[in-house]
């Protein structure tokens, strides 16, 4: 197991840049679908590469949410991003929830499905938050077994996202990046790398984010999240209410060097600006990726350009 975990830990000193998407599914640079933007999207069908939707918001019987999703899906690729799988919980997997997710998948045919490497509930009580796990061999076995069962039930691979966290368990014996890599490798799952969460955790817990990237197997990273955090003075808070900070863009640049072209998404949930501002953040991501992969820059300003 240790060997597996270490097999992809090469240093980022090479000048070789991966140029292809690791799994052939490159959707481009998307944004999260949020109700405040529904009218503009439905009226103008703006040029957005793809949308990510919060799975639970559409596990409803009917009405406007499902109608909007159906319309958006008819114009764009859509990815389902869940927050309630609770893959690391001590509770049994929720069959009712999984059944609803499967029905949504059958209906909307998303490009892929993701959730978080965390726990959200115990004893049936949902905290509606993404809580960290102790990174131990026992937890690893627990999570891997559950990911396999979820994938069997859904009939497809899922992606798991690294969550932001504000504490670490003293009993953890495995570095977070290695734990995520091991779950993905051993359960044959994909990775949704949240670069903002990585930056937040590296700051909150004092580790090297680049070493974390090195620990992740290239071929497993299928999607990247970018978002803005809030600096609370004593810790960084993953609030999704700011533009992406410069340090996170820098880390994104390193991630693209490491993983090649990976479908990238801007998450913005609170203090949501007009759609055009969120789209502009996605264009920034495109420009950086294009610069890293192809070296495309504006001949006058030297700034990275999208196309």
């Amino acid at each position: 197991m240790q060997g597996q975990r270490r097999q992809d830990q090469r240093q980022l000193t090479t000048t070789t840049v991966a140029t292809r998407a690791p799994n052939g599914k490159f959707l481009g640079f998307g944004i999260g679908l949020r109700p405040k933007h529904y009218p503009e999207i439905l009226d103008h069908w703006p040029q957005v590469d793809w949308f990510e939707v919060i799975t639970e918001n559409f596990l409803v019987a009917g009405g406007r949410p499902r109608r909007v999703l159906e319309a958006v899906r008819s114009h764009y690729p859509v990815v389902l991003h869940g927050v309630s799988l609770s893959i690391g919980s001590a509770d049994p997997l929720d069959d009712d929830y999984l059944g609803r997710v499967r029905a949504l998948i059958d209906w909307i045919e998303p490009a892929w499905v993701s959730d978080h490497l965390c726990w959200t509930k115990v004893d049936g009580v949902n905290l509606h938050d993404l809580l960290p796990l102790p990174f131990t061999e026992e937890t690893l076995r627990h999570v891997v077994e559950r990911v396999r069962r979820v994938q069997d039930y859904l009939g497809r691979q899922i992606l798991l996202e690294n969550v932001s966290s504000y504490f670490e368990f003293a009993q953890s014996t495995i570095a977070e990046g290695e734990f995520l890599a091991a779950v993905a490798q051993e359960a044959d799952a994909g990775i949704l790398l949240d670069v903002n969460n990585l930056y937040v955790n590296a700051s909150n817990h004092g580790f090297d984010p680049v070493q974390y990237l090195v620990a992740l197997p290239r071929q497993r990273v299928q999607q990247i999240h970018l978002a803005g955090y809030a600096d609370r003075g004593t810790f960084l808070h993953d609030t999704h209410d700011h533009p992406v900070w410069p340090a996170v863009w820098e880390l994104y640049r390193i991630a693209i060097k490491r993983f090649g072209l990976v479908s990238t998404l801007i998450e913005w949930d609170a203090a949501l600006p007009p759609l055009s501002e969120v789209m502009a953040e996605a264009e920034k991501a495109r420009a950086i990726a294009w610069d890293v992969i192809y070296g495309w820059r504006d001949s006058r300003t030297g700034a990275a350009v999208a196309e």
Binding site: E56, A61, G63, R67, A90, V122, V125, L127, H128, P134
Partner: protein, 275 residues
């Protein structure tokens, strides 16, 4: 950390995060076993101790749910004020922690809960108001079903009306309230100051048409007829005892025309006798 320990740890963290007075004040209430689990559980680092770190989650837990409920119950919040609403939600979450995978369901028990809460002694209509606001939430994303138009009325053979039952739109909710709470509800929707509702029996119908949720006060007689799920012959009989046969027939015809136009009706299906 084996499976049993993982479960105990998650239970402990859930208990501390949900503690209404914050993590520090909850610690002395822990059992010896819980206390020994807690000690050394969280890795110390920097200026934030374990309590402060877990309090970040405790605050997020409360305010995430509080904000979701404030969105679902704006008129309740406007009536009792933000501070009392804060306290109401604190008490509510102690009695009814979320057991759903979605925040959408978190307010399902609030209408019943608020009726027995101290705020209802000062605002006795608050339970009715919460009931109305929850009906609006339910109608918003209730199942879809094609609504029939006026032509459907004509398609039912004259002799078969009595053996049919109405298929109501799944979003339809019929509320019997002791107060006219639709008045302050509407004022809240319009951003106006809220008046006290009158103490009078009020029947409300809540339903969705063209993706919009509507609320309308209806006469008690119509309120009782809405949602009627037996053969229309029974409805006509019951109505005739109040209005007389001829007037009952006219009233039913008028109601059906209005209900169909309003998008409340999805069909008129034959009543099947149970064996």
């Amino acid at each position: 950390m084996d499976g049993a320990t993982l479960e105990r740890v998650q239970r402990l963290l859930s208990k501390l995060i949900r503690s209404p007075e914050g993590v520090a004040l909850a610690l002395p209430e822990l059992s010896l076993e819980e206390r020994s689990l807690w000690d050394g559980l969280i890795r110390p680092r920097g200026t934030l101790d374990a309590v402060a770190r877990l309090d970040i989650y405790a605050n997020m837990y409360f305010f995430r749910i509080h904000d979701a409920l404030a969105e679902d119950f704006p008129a309740v919040r406007a009536t009792i004020g933000p501070q009392r609403f804060h306290n109401l939600i604190t008490d509510y979450l102690l009695a009814h922690p979320s057991r759903s995978f979605t925040l959408r369901d978190v307010g399902a028990c609030l209408p019943d809960f608020v009726r027995s809460h101290v705020v209802s002694s000062q605002w006795p209509w608050i339970g009715d108001l919460a009931l109305l606001e929850w009906a609006v939430v339910e109608a918003f994303d209730a199942a879809d079903s094609p609504q029939v138009d006026e032509a459907a009325l004509a398609q039912v053979p004259a002799g078969e009306w009595g053996l049919r039952r109405v298929v109501w739109h799944p979003s339809l909710r019929v509320l019997r309230c002791a107060f006219s709470v639709h008045v302050p509800w509407r004022q809240c929707q319009d951003g106006q100051q809220l008046d006290e509702p009158r103490l009078e029996e009020t029947w409300l119908r809540v339903w969705r048409q063209h993706e919009r949720v509507f609320v309308a006060a209806v006469p008690p007689l119509e309120g009782r007829a809405l949602g009627f799920d037996r053969a229309l012959a029974s409805l006509a009989e019951e109505l005739a005892t109040v209005l007389g046969e001829e007037a009952a027939a006219q009233q039913l015809a008028a109601w059906f025309a209005a209900w169909v136009k309003g998008g409340l009706v999805c069909g008129f299906e034959p009543v099947r006798c149970r064996e």
